[in-house]
Amino acid sequence: MESALTARFGLMAPTGFPVGVFAWEGPVERTVERPSLLGPEGPVEEGERGVPAHFQDLHLDELEAALFAPHGGMGLEAIFRRPLQDERAVVHRQRVAQDLEAEPLAQAFRTFFRGMEHMRKGLELAEGARHPWQKRLYFLLAAEAYLEALEGLWKGLLGHPPRSPGLQGYRAYLEAYRGSPDFLRLRADRERTRSALDGLRYVLHVHEGRLALRAYQGEPDYGRQVAETFRPFFGERPPSWQGRDLPTGPWLNHVEAWILDHLALLFPEAFGRLEAFFQDHQGFADPALLGPEKEARFFLAYLDFIAPLREAGLPFVYPEVAHEPPFLAQEAFDLVLAAKLLFQGSLPVTDGFLFDEARILVVTGTNQGGKTTFARMVGQVYHLFALGLPVPGSRARLLLPDRILTHFEARENPEELRSKLEEDLRRLKTLLDGATDRSLLILNEPFASAALLDARLIGRFVLERIRARGSLGVVVTFLDELARLPGTRSLVAGVDPEDPARRTFRILERPADGKAYALALAEKYGLTYARLKARLGGGP
């Protein structure tokens, strides 16, 4: 294990791959970055604490569960929970993701994943096996799965040369690794061991509760003799009957175990090789190769998730990294909602957003008109962008946020001694304290717990503070006057002009007209104050 590690570090020395330096003498001092698909500086160190605060608000927790369900136990969530701060890393990942969108390369990686799963399964069986020889056989199987997986991936990378530095680095690493003495020895030893075991042939004699075992000495095939004798009856037509074997579990029964034990005595050379293989190649899997496996899974999990949406015609785009406004996205949508709608056979409404000098978007409009979804969408687009993934939309140009801060309505907690308003304000203060000019703030009905007059006052104050900090903000509110504050852009959840009671779910830039959905409905059914009064007043 130790030697494998030093070899690996030796490998990554930037001056070519000095084979002679595979110093078994001692550990190489400098730590060289491992090839990574996640960032130019190597993989981000893990250790992400629980779910980030904004996940639940933006439905990113649901997205995470849906994305990584097929890759359980790989710890991909930690990557998903860690948006990048470094623009170079974002670009690095975007290029890797673009490479992996090519189906042949993705296919090569999927095969690689399967091979690695077989390897893990083999190691698990080797771990669990109680029979020592079966343990060694499963260990050999695991090593074979590993070699095969690497071989397949290598061929895939050769056949479809990647263009991203991430995958190129990985390929270079793989190339060097395949030439390393450790790997060559593993491959040669496997070859020798397997051929020795495959060559074993022995004779079993079963008779009345007695089993005898000895080496095979070239006795003829009696079954064939019988078949030859009776062949005139059925001619060249082979006996057609196909037996089905009952499925067997992974472990040996006591007779099989006895046979295996005594085969080891009968064929000491072949089993000696197996034993040597088991002793020499503990920990054969290079950890530096396991990292990229996990990382590639991260990308493919996401690409596989969005594939059906793309097929349905929804656009995805790699956002351009920008420092100066305008920051915008066009034809974006809530990814979680889109997946749900697609499952039901429909598609979501797409919306765009734009931050320029006005860095605060104030969203007003009808109830149930898509305001919250819009806010969520903006948050998701920024988060996915900060992970280096393609985001929903046909065009996007975004500022890499240092943090995404959300304030959605929380249920009142009776155990807290503070009132709901007090709690809301405290949360707002925490958010505002943490915000910088690179932060994205998403406030969803933040003042719903205050009286109207108070809410106006607080709202005005909060927006002032956001503006002072220069943060990007999305504020969903029913206070349309906030949309008239300086530095804000007013967006309104639209209703059908023909039929004001029908919601379009489109969020359009429009001055907030203060007409709430309830009023629209009331008008439609002739229930406004004026109409009612006119009708009840006994006619004109």
Partner: protein, 332 residues
């Protein structure tokens, strides 16, 4: 193996369905009495002659000539076809006593196949003797004898009966070769010949052998050994069971073909007893129709007599029949 008495290139297939509307044809031509004369009380034979007459409609000239040869021999030696018919029936009955379907369970039944093959070998031996004892004159019967002689050599009987059917009972257990599977089990079994009880390896020492003796109450172990044994004998069991199936098919065909010839011989006997003439028609190409003294067989059997008619109507079609009522138009 082929029987080949009725067809030059194949055996009678009783699974073949009747042609469409055959029941009506049978009724219109008055074949019921003909069937009864051929089959007597034998229900199986009745079915066979119906099938043969139905399939005869699609025969080619070569088949007709081939069958005429076989029928001549049958008319000459009705006792031979009767003996063949009986022998085939008895052999099949004996086989059925020993085993039903050999492939019905999840593995071929080797023991059942051995018993069935024993019955068949007895039947084949008797069949060969019967054919060899009789001075055969017709090509179909001679060809059948030649085909059987080619396969059923004394060496074959020695090997099959004395060697294999004895050895496959494995009185001293099963020897098999195997290799190691990736999971550490045995795989790729081949059956080895039973070992003689003799001094091992006159030069050098006996090969190293390990022996596992199960505890008498180790039922799981006994079951596992049984499974290993089954895997070892699988190839031989498959081969033997396939051979049994094929020989069974041979005897089924022999029974049907000999039976139909027997029916023909019986019918001819009845007609001869009535003093009526018999002739083998010559198949011809195109619209050729000519006969002399042709009579309705069914009518003859019913009335004990029939009047023959003559006609020469080459290249004429259709033929109209007129005349007095009750003058014999429908029989014609």
């Amino acid at each position: 193996m082929r029987v080949g008495l009725l067809f030059p290139d194949r055996d009678l297939d009783l699974a073949h369905p009747f042609p469409f509307g055959w029941e009506n044809v049978e009724h219109d031509l008055g074949l019921g009495d003909v069937y009864r004369a051929m089959a007597g009380e034998d229900g199986y034979l009745l079915e066979v002659v119906r099938k043969v007459l139905a399939q005869g409609l699609t025969s080619q000239a070569a088949t007709v000539l081939h069958r005429q040869e076989a029928v001549r021999e049958a008319l000459e030696r009705p006792d031979l076809v009767e003996a063949l018919y009986t022998l085939a029936g008895e052999t099949l009955a004996a086989k059925r006593r020993e085993s039903y379907g050999l492939f019905q369970r999840d593995r071929p039944d080797l023991y059942g196949a051995i018993k069935a093959m024993e019955a068949f070998l007895k039947g084949l031996r008797a069949l060969l003797t019967l054919l060899q004892r009789t001075p055969l004159t017709s090509p179909p019967f001679q060809a059948l004898k030649a085909r059987l002689e080619a396969v059923l050599t004394p060496a074959f009987f020695r090997q099959a009966e004395e060697a294999h059917l004895e050895a496959l009972r494995f009185p001293k257990g099963v020897w098999m070769a195997a290799g190691l599977s990736r999971e550490g089990r045995s795989q790729g079994y081949t059956l080895l010949p039973p070992e003689e009880r003799r001094a091992w390896w006159p030069f050098g020492k006996r090969p190293r052998t390990y022996v596992l003796t199960l505890h008498p109450r180790d039922e799981a172990g006994a079951r596992i050994l049984g499974e290993i044994r089954e895997k070892g004998i699988l190839e031989a069991a498959k081969a033997l069971a396939t051979a049994v199936e094929e020989v069974a098919r041979f005897f089924e065909s022999l029974r049907a073909e000999a039976g139909s010839l027997l029916g023909v011989a019986r019918l001819a006997g009845r007609l001869k007893a009535l003093g009526l003439p018999l002739a083998f028609p010559t198949p011809a190409e195109g619209l050729r129709l000519a006969f002399r003294g042709l009579y309705d067989v069914g009518l003859a059997l019913r009335q004990g007599m029939a009047v023959g008619n003559d006609l020469e109507a080459h290249d004429r079609n259709p033929i109209l029949i007129t005349g007095a009522n009750r003058g014999g138009r429908p029989p014609f």
